[in-house]
């Protein structure tokens, strides 16, 4: 009986093909959005960082990234127990070709001798690293960025400074790999210091490597205490906390995401309930026949709820499938804004989205199904649909 009932439900779900397909597409778009929101939420608030990143500490001016820290802070921080490597980073913020967003990427000045010891998740061939360290005007770039602009080792590029009055002419000396990829270029801070007199002895912020993840919080506290009475106080925090701070500066992101999720789920419910109401209405006589044949109320109820679930589940699967390429493309776009989004539709995300689809299917199918199950048989048989 269950077997035949199952196929009965499936056949009925797709009996009115146009209606089912339209509903499915409508639901799939909503679920696409929902999956996107879950992915963003995960990457901001749930995902754990890579093991190397959990050992990294970012030390910046307490007030703002816009203020520089003195160069001598580097050696003081290096003396803190647990710090194994430390490199300066400065946001150059230059223009490449023009102001268009597709030409935007992160440009940072750092110390080639030590930076890759801290950023150990960036993989670069040793001879390229050596070439970079030996060339004061050299630069290394992420492989995705190099591919995007068709840069090869040895190519020369010019950036226009906006914060610094310098248009650096750089030679690509190395191409690094990192997972996830990153739209970034690094060049030597010495080049910047020599060309811009007032920047000598300054650094945007520092990135330090700690010997183990357990020591990160202690090291951060020691560093902040060390500079508490200096004219420029510091704020040391883990890389993840630093990124979260950046996210929260964009606004109330949590409320924003939850609001969109709420609207989307409500929209799915409306669409699905609407379809089920139409479906029940056009099958009034059939329902009466089913009941005459001896189908109980519960059975009729479960038939219609199952139809609703089948429909929203089908929409959900479609939505999640579409989400996979869309989110991959989005991650690529967002990197341009410097937002460290690493988004993939992971299995738990997909499952969560589908569970939401099923629950919404049950809720939205219940009312029309309940109506159908309570229908008066005689009236139903008389009904002219």
């Amino acid at each position: 009986m269950t077997m035949t009932l199952g196929s009965f439900v499936v056949r009925n779900t797709f009996r009115n093909k146009r209606r089912s397909v339209l509903t499915m597409i409508s639901i799939s778009f909503s679920l696409l959005l929902l999956t996107m929101m879950i992915c963003i939420w995960r990457s901001f608030y749930v995902d754990q960082v890579a093991p190397e990143a959990s050992r990294r500490l970012i030390i910046r001016d307490r007030v703002s990234l816009a203020f520089f820290l003195p160069a001598y802070y580097r050696d003081k921080i290096r003396s803190v127990p647990g710090v194994t490597a430390i490199a300066p980073l400065t946001w150059f913020g230059g223009r490449y070709i023009d102001d268009r967003p597709e030409h935007f990427f992160a440009q940072l000045a750092t110390d080639p001798d030590e930076y890759l010891k801290v950023a150990s998740d960036k993989i670069i061939p040793p001879e390229q690293l050596k070439a970079w360290q030996q060339d004061r005007t050299g630069a290394i770039v992420d492989v995705t960025l190099a591919d995007k602009f068709h840069w090869k080792i040895g190519d020369r590029i010019t950036l226009q400074g906006t914060i610094f009055e310098l248009n650096p002419e750089l030679t690509i000396r190395g191409i690094y790999h990192r997972d996830p990829p990153q739209n970034a270029l690094y060049f030597s801070t010495k080049y910047l210091e020599e060309a811009v007199p007032w920047f000598k002895g300054e650094a945007g912020w520092y990135i330090a490597q700690i010997d183990s993840p357990e020591h990160v919080a202690d090291a951060a506290k020691i560093i902040d205490d060390m500079f508490r009475n200096s004219p420029l106080q510091t704020k040391a925090e883990s890389e993840k906390a630093f990124q979260l701070g950046f996210v929260s500066s964009l606004g109330n992101v949590k409320a924003f995401i939850l609001g969109i999720c709420g609207a989307v789920m409500f929209a799915i419910m409306l669409v699905s309930a609407n379809t089920m109401a139409m479906s029940v209405r056009s099958r009034t006589r059939e329902v009466a026949v089913l009941k005459t044949l001896g189908f109980t109320r519960q059975r009729v109820l479960s038939i219609f709820v199952s139809e609703s679930v089948a429909l929203s589940l089908a929409g959900g699967v479609l939505g999640v499938l579409v989400a996979i390429p869309v989110i991959a493309a989005m991650t690529h776009q967002f990197m341009g804004f410097g937002i460290p989004l690493d988004m993939k539709v992971k299995v738990p995300t997909a499952i969560l989205a589908l569970v939401v689809a099923v629950i919404l299917g049950i809720i939205s199918g219940y009312l029309p199904a309940y109506r159908a199950s309570r229908m008066n048989i005689v009236e139903g048989l008389r009904h002219i649909g």
Binding site: R19, A66, F164, S249, G251, N274
Partner: protein
């Protein structure tokens, strides 16, 4: 002859449940779209309304923001002697050397710390900003208390700073720089970028941050728009000064790019939701057509043409969408004026702005809904118009 629109209204009324649910679906999409558009409108206003076309902002050459500016105070007297500057109440050229710094304030609701811009200014700076702007209203007015006094450790805060941050009421003291500052007044900046600032005396502030003898920017009030243009060129071209002059309006217009992430997200979310709603509307309209097969055939027999039927059903779909738009706008109205913040990507400090549901936003929302209704209604209406009369009558 066209089918009267009353026919469509009655039909919508007849299938109340279906109409309401479809309209609600459209309303939800419209609501989301309005929310995002209102955010952007508020943000744009924060920047666009901040500048006065008569005020010339002077920065160090090459600098993009007041925060990364900074020049020697000895240049200020030279700036004051430039021709074309309006006179202040004392009969002196109206110019203000200012000092900008970003400080960290704790949010009132305990959700963390936010960067806020503190601006030190001269008395002329206050006078300048109380002059009428392009809309003939003062750009900044005193809402409560009094202005800070020169030479005192006093500050005035904007209304939204008072609402969003702890210790920002009149009589409170704020801790930054080398000590405490007394809050003596609250000003209303009408939703402009000044709405995110704390103001005080320039000399007091500069000495607190060890920047005596320097200004991060200067403001000059020009006599008229032509003088303002000339003044910007004069400042930029003067080889002695090594400074850049720009109209304040241009300076803020550049900062609107801080809204880019919100705009991008808004477009993505809006379009995806709209496509979903179009399919839902299509469904409803197909159902409406299917139920009324015999009715449509009858209309045809009476003599209504195919184009008339097509128009009528598209119109019905548009009506449905319009209903959705109205509901959507009504749902969002309570949120009008709600304040929120984002980070200014030029100054790294927080910009406070309010959701603004303007007539333009409402207009776009209606247009957005009508497009959904039109696209969703076209195929079903086409289907209705093409129906075979005989078959339909047999039903």
């Amino acid at each position: 002859m066209a089918i009267p629109i009353r026919y469509n209204i009655r039909n919508l009324k007849l299938r109340k449940g279906l109409t309401v649910m479809t309209a609600l679906g459209i309303a939800l999409t419209v609501t989301t779209a309005i929310f995002l558009m209102a955010l952007v409108a508020g943000l744009d206003r924060a920047f666009v309304s901040s500048g006065s076309p008569l005020d010339v902002l002077v920065l160090r050459k090459g600098s993009e923001s007041e925060l990364t500016g900074g020049f020697d105070a000895s240049l200020f007297p030279t700036l004051k002697t430039l021709p074309g500057i309006a006179k202040d109440s004392q009969g002196e050229p109206m110019a203000s050397g200012e000092w900008n710094v970003v400080i960290v304030l704790p949010r009132k609701d305990g959700t963390g710390e936010v960067n806020v811009t503190v601006r030190g200014m001269m008395p002329d700076g206050l006078e300048m900003r109380q002059l009428p702007g392009p809309d003939h209203k003062p750009r900044v007015t005193l809402a409560e208390g009094r202005w800070f006094q020169t030479g005192q450790r006093e500050v005035v805060v904007s209304k939204s700073i008072r609402e969003r941050f702890a210790h920002a009421n009149i009589g409170d003291t704020m801790e930054f720089g080398k000590g405490s500052w007394k809050v003596v007044g609250v000003f209303d900046a009408g939703g402009s970028a000044y709405e995110s600032e704390v103001w005080g005396d320039v000399n007091q502030m500069a000495s607190d941050f060890d920047r005596q003898g320097g200004y991060s920017s200067a403001y000059l009030r020009a006599e008229d728009p032509i003088a303002a243009e000339a003044l910007t060129r004069r400042v930029s071209d003067d080889q002695r000064l090594k400074l850049d002059g720009m109209l304040e309006t241009d300076y803020y217009a550049k900062q609107t790019r801080s809204g880019t992430p919100i705009k991008v997200i808004g477009w993505v979310v809006g379009i995806i939701m709209a496509v979903g709603s179009i399919f839902a509307a299509m469904n409803t309209m197909y159902a409406a057509v299917a139920y009324r097969g015999r009715e449509i055939a009858t209309l045809r027999v009476i003599g209504f043409s195919r184009p008339a039927i097509l128009t009528s059903f598209v119109l019905e779909s548009l009506l449905l969408a319009l209903l959705g738009a109205v509901v959507g706008i009504l749902l969002m109205l309570p949120f009008n004026g709600m304040q929120t913040g984002t980070s200014n990507q030029v100054t790294f400090s927080e910009v406070v702005f309010a959701l603004r549901i303007t007539w333009v936003v409402a207009g776009y929302a209606v247009l957005f809904a009508l497009v959904m209704g039109f696209v969703g209604g076209l195929a079903p209406a086409w289907h209705a118009a093409r129906q075979n009369i005989l078959n339909a009558l047999r039903g």
